[in-house]
Symmetry: C2
Subunit: 588 residues, 2 copies
């Protein structure tokens, strides 16, 4: 018993501090930035994302608590509710007068959120809903703001009317009174210490016959009419639910932008340190900055390039979202899901490498890489698990593909493959597959073609594979599962191409020639790194021969070497205030 594990961090202090920080920001009007002006908001969604990203240079528990309150809780009321809800709640949410939660996930249903089992049973005689957790493992879990501060929650539950299940809908449910005491029928648990984000009070919620008035149903997409009957403009429960989720896609923009900021912080710390840290040197000579070592450049420069690439990629995602029209929604949802996954995985890799690149110094809390890594660690899981999201992205790509070719019949497939082969044929002649001169390797047209070719080919080959599996007797569900690995390739290849294109546009738009030159090199490194990572694929496909992939590797080395000279200015350009960066090893 003396060997028992113990938990030693004072969660309470940290959580209160983060709440206080949120208050200070709310007082400045930052919390309600995204809400319409008529409800006390700033009416500026773009600024809301910028706030999420900028706050991420400071403390990530703050960002997530802020996001739960003003994003998830507030925006769910805004997007799923109607004017009566907006009028009643939005101002108080934006001012943090009503701290609240977004209670979707349950212990037994995380990724498969459609399967949640909490019930909201309508009682027409009393004009109320009764909320229930049918069994312990159907409790709400991981809910931010639940363990301590939340007074209300948007609760997702299956609507039951007269014994009939109308699918998942959303309801405003009070959790605590003004003194913070939990209300009757509400049982809260504390998720306790986590790997990171310990300033956020995640908790579990069990509902036992919790009664809420009828008006608490967030009724934009479905409602119960005066006769006590279910009504919705979207008849399919499934489609309605995914439409509801679609309106919440903003969260999938805030998270990757936050992860981008964390990656930038990590790179700024690691690159500044690596530029000054000296270790080893030629016999008798002075010691050399570790960033002069080829291996160290290889470890950090491609990640710097990717982080720049994502900067432009996420700007693109944001602007697509802000200017969205109804019929673009499916594409934008796929884009958000994909970019969220790509960016958060990238931040994971970046911060891991930064930790190691700083040696022992990278392990000390004062240098903040550990906190950045541990806090963003869960970004790959929440707001949708990346592996699951990437499959949705691939399915969306396949759907687009199918649209383009009508029913995915054999002839359509074959002719597509043939067309693709024809356009690829020019690039697949030995002169191109073996072309290794510098000008070609650095050519943006080569990069674009290579990325497009991989995008198209992986997509067509996944489609072919799926068709074969289905023709062979598997149902769709099983066929997708067998091809999961390919599905991820399809999604990745699509995202690589889009991000590259956005990087290209950004370079073209740069007016300062020096900046243009520096960005252009980073873009080349980004493209060639992606190609190098996938060189096995390109060789298998015949798009490149060995001489060429070897030349790509050499060119990546060369670019790492060249960019190393600009590395410190390039991270300084992120313009993170030293006070927020705070790491002693990053001070110059």
């Amino acid at each position: 018993a003396r060997f028992n594990y113990e938990t030693l961090t004072d969660l309470k202090v940290y959580r209160e501090k983060v709440l206080e920080w949120c208050r200070l920001l709310a007082d400045q009007g930052l919390g309600s930035m995204a809400y319409p002006r008529e409800f006390g908001g700033g009416g500026n969604m773009a600024d809301y994302f910028a706030i999420m990203e900028t706050l991420s240079y400071h403390d990530l528990s703050l960002v997530i608590k802020f996001g739960v309150q003003f994003g998830l809780w507030g925006m769910s009321v805004y997007s799923l509710g109607t004017e009566k809800h907006h009028r009643k709640y939005l101002a108080d949410i934006g001012s943090l007068k009503i701290p609240g939660c977004f209670a979707m996930t349950e212990t037994n249903h995380g990724s498969n959120v459609k399967g949640i089992e909490t019930t909201a049973t309508y009682d027409h005689s009393k004009q109320v809903f009764v909320i229930n957790t049918p069994y312990p493992d159907a409790r709400k879990e991981y809910i931010g703001n639940a363990a301590m501060h939340g007074r209300m929650a948007t609760v997702f539950a299956k609507l039951i009317i007269a014994g009939k299940d109308y699918g998942v809908n959303a309801f405003i449910v009070p959790l605590r009174d003004e003194n913070g005491n939990t209300l009757n029928g509400v049982t809260i648990g504390d998720c306790g210490q986590k790997m990171g984000l310990n300033g956020v009070d995640n908790g579990t919620i069990i509902f036992t016959d919790v009664v809420i008035p009828k008006e608490n149903m967030l009724d934009k997409f479905a409602s119960v009419n005066d006769a006590g009957e279910f009504e919705s403009p979207i008849p399919s429960d499934n489609r309605r639910f995914f439409t509801m989720l679609g309106t919440l896609v903003g969260g999938r923009i805030g998270i990757p932008r936050s992860s981008l900021a964390a990656a930038k912080s990590g790179l700024t710390i690691a690159i500044r340190y690596s530029d000054t840290r000296r270790q080893f040197g030629p016999e008798g000579g002075a010691e050399v900055p570790i960033l002069n070592y080829r291996m160290h450049q290889r470890r950090l420069m491609p990640l710097l390039a990717r982080t720049y690439a994502l900067h432009f990629g996420l700007q693109y995602l944001t602007s697509r979202f802000l200017s969205r029209t109804e019929n673009e929604m499916q594409e934008i949802e796929a884009l958000a899901a994909g970019m969220k996954s790509y960016a958060t995985w990238s931040a994971r890799d970046v911060l891991q490498e930064c930790r190691e690149a700083c040696g022992g110094k990278g392990y000390l809390a004062e240098n903040r890489i550990g906190a950045l890594k541990n806090d963003t660690e869960i970004y790959t899981t929440f707001e949708g698990d990346n592996t699951v999201l990437m499959q949705l992205v691939a399915k969306n790509r396949l759907a687009e593909f199918r649209k383009a070719f009508g029913k995915m019949n054999a002839m359509g497939m074959i002719s597509y493959v043939y067309e693709n082969a024809k356009t690829a044929i020019a690039e697949k002649n030995p002169i191109i597959t073996r072309k290794t001169d510098d000008a070609h390797l650095l050519d943006e047209v080569f990069h674009q073609h290579a990325l497009e070719h991989r995008e198209k080919t992986t997509l067509a080959s996944a489609a072919r594979r799926l068709k074969k599996l289905v023709d062979g007797g598997l149902d769709g569900y099983d066929a997708f599962n067998v091809a999961q690995h390919q599905m991820l390739d399809v999604a990745r290849a699509w995202l690589d191409r889009i991000i590259f294109e956005q990087f290209t546009l950004a370079v073209n738009n740069a007016s300062d020639t020096k900046i243009k030159q520096a960005l252009s090199q980073l873009k080349q490194l980004f493209a060639l790194s992606v190609i190098e990572q996938n060189k096995g694929w390109y060789l298998e496909d015949g798009y490149m021969e060995a001489v060429k992939t070897k030349a790509v590797r050499k060119m990546v080395n060369q670019l790492c070497w060249d960019i190393r000279k600009d590395a410190v200015p390039l991270v300084n350009a992120f313009d993170i205030p030293d006070q927020l960066l705070s790491a002693p090893i990053a001070t110059v």
Copy 2:
């Protein structure tokens, strides 16, 4: 100012707890297990390693504190000192009566430890050494046991006699009195909160004219004689220092074995959970265990195979070390450096993947994956930074290569390459490079050849490259730097082959046919995963053609699928007590 960062964990409580744990273990005689019986020890080095590994199923701060005290501190006295030191200190170190440190690293010199600047100046008139930190950044840094509990330290310092520098030597230096107060001239700092291992009190030490008696020099490899002159059987300062380091290679066995245990814990938690956690399912059907998903298998099964492979690889390292003879030392040092890097990087990857594979549950402290990851995070850095160690491994391989071919002249090189080409020629004929039948793909001979071929070819090509660079006018230091990336490939390819061979031996030695069958499949997966990861290389080299690498991918999928069925028994075979595993999601 209200936004300042704050540190919230109570380090003091945790550190005291870990010290108490060490006391309990020392009382059982576990601390002195490796020391000779005549000095109160257990005389059993093999058991010492087993203790390090087994303790790693519990708390890793404990393992590291234990290793600092009984391994680094005690074994440095044992290996670098002579009988007078053994008699005076070993029993008290083993019983934890004298907590102590191993003080090598300095702020300005970590990897390049030969460059440390602390001085030990001999004063013949007083028969003492005076220890000094010449300037602040030459302070000892990260020293385990220094911040709170260490009463003495093995301090590495440049020996100065009559103004002449005799290179780095080791000295026993008292730090604190029996009440724990630091002694005159000793200034201790606290490294504070770290990303992990917060139960270990790492600190900095500055020495200001600290006087120690002459007998405190650990004088196995060098001493000051009665005339006050330097004496050593090894005249070169450089060689002497590396000989001293060589005697400490045991630390490079304890760490990878500890990381192996952590990886096993992580896999046991993640695989048991994935076997029971259900999410999604066919339309209308029951939900499916996530480990049934192909992608999930892909994420975990190859890591399970690699962890088994490393189990046997590290047993091999240990037995080579325990039965070492003088003239094997260089090889064993390279093996230890390489295995340490391979195993700790692998644990990093395993624990990262396990965290993500468990979704939100993997983020909760109660499930321990976070602690396992953060505590072992520094394993890739301490006891020698992996990137630096892998270069040493490669240099050792190149030295062996050179030995085999006399002076690395062009003719020798060419004929080696020719020979290698000849043996490869049989395998490079189109029948083999395109061979894709199952029997061949699963054939151990194919695996062994493929791994050997990569090992030999990367080595020869690195040698060729270096020769070219040197012929082109670079000095050796620069040439090695330019080729760093290749150096890592050389080291990795060597280790892959060795680990595979040890896995093969283990399979052959298994008597139970069912176990043999299960291990054999894991071994196939290990080999094919390595080949798949390097498929770009194999294609570039011409050792395989596209049809074959594609077939390898399919076979990896198939093996993941097949092994999935045994996955739970395979982690249960690690036999980690549930009480130590402790994670609620791992209980079955």
